[in-house]
């Protein structure tokens, strides 16, 4: 039984991590046109307890993407400099969409496994029924 509850909490940690990733992706996409916005990324790490991996996954701290901001030419923009450019964001929509897709796939895989573990444990409980 502990194996089942272990498996469930592990898949739940996976879903939580993917959801956090998706949240940051949506933040990036929402701010794709915000001047000076740097895209945020989070890392995944295997959770450790007393030097042993527990199997759970956790998200690391949020980091900012340090690549250069895109220069956008628009002389009428209030933030434009003498040459008519202003700094946009360094969000690449293509990358964000791909990232979101991957997060969705991994989330689905975890959800599927959660359901399967639940089925297994309920079929075990069915043994008690006559």
């Amino acid at each position: 039984m502990t194996d089942f509850s272990d498996a469930m909490s592990i898949t739940a940690s996976g879903m939580k991590a993917q959801a956090a990733r998706l949240r940051h992706v949506s933040e990036n996409i929402a701010n794709a046109d915000t001047p000076g916005f740097q895209r945020k990324t989070i890392s995944f790490e295997a959770e450790m307890a007393a030097g042993q991996p527990t199997g759970r996954v956790e998200t690391g701290r949020v980091r900012l993407d340090r690549t250069d901001l895109g220069q956008i030419y628009d002389p009428s923009h209030p933030m434009a400099d003498e040459s008519g450019n202003y700094a946009g964001s360094n969000v690449n929509l293509l990358i964000e969409i791909a990232d979101a897709r991957e997060a969705q796939r991994s989330y689905e895989a975890n959800l599927k496994l959660f359901d399967q573990v639940r089925q297994m444990s309920s079929s075990l409980m069915d043994l008690l029924r006559k």
Binding site: A7, R21, S43, A46, G55, R56, E102, S106, V117, L127
Partner: protein, 127 residues
């Protein structure tokens, strides 16, 4: 069959093994996007059974209960799948297949257990 009830112990060990394997698969799947994570694996029940890891403990008297079903499943090894650029060796497709296989094994073990129980019940004349 009725002396040691080995079939119960074997099916119990099989179900337990499936549970432990499922936990490892869950850990792999949760870490499918963790950089540098190496996928782990437990050998299938048939393999670890034939290697004698789940076989009966030696009993000095016939009245003693063997501890076969209570022995822990095979040790955890690393599966040697292909590495992705970030050093992760989890293949979601492979884990999916394994999860289905494990579920079927678990169901099989429970079916055997339930059926043996039915046989036992019938033999003592209860329905």
């Amino acid at each position: 069959m009725f002396k040691n009830l080995e079939i119960f112990q074997t099916s119990f060990a099989m179900a337990r093994h499936a549970g432990a394997r499922q936990a490892v698969t869950a850990a792999n799947m949760a870490n499918a996007d963790t950089p540098g994570y190496r996928a782990r694996a437990i050998a299938p029940f048939a393999e670890s059974y034939s290697r004698g890891e789940t076989s009966d403990m030696r009993v000095t008297r016939s009245g003693h209960i063997g501890a076969s079903a209570l022995s822990t499943p095979a040790p955890v090894g690393f599966s040697d799948a292909e590495q992705s650029p970030n050093g992760n060796t989890v293949s979601l497709e492979l884990e999916m297949m394994k999860a289905i296989e494990i579920q079927r094994e678990h169901n099989r073990a429970l079916a055997i257990y339930k059926h043996s129980l039915d046989v036992l019940r019938t033999s003592i004349g209860r329905r």
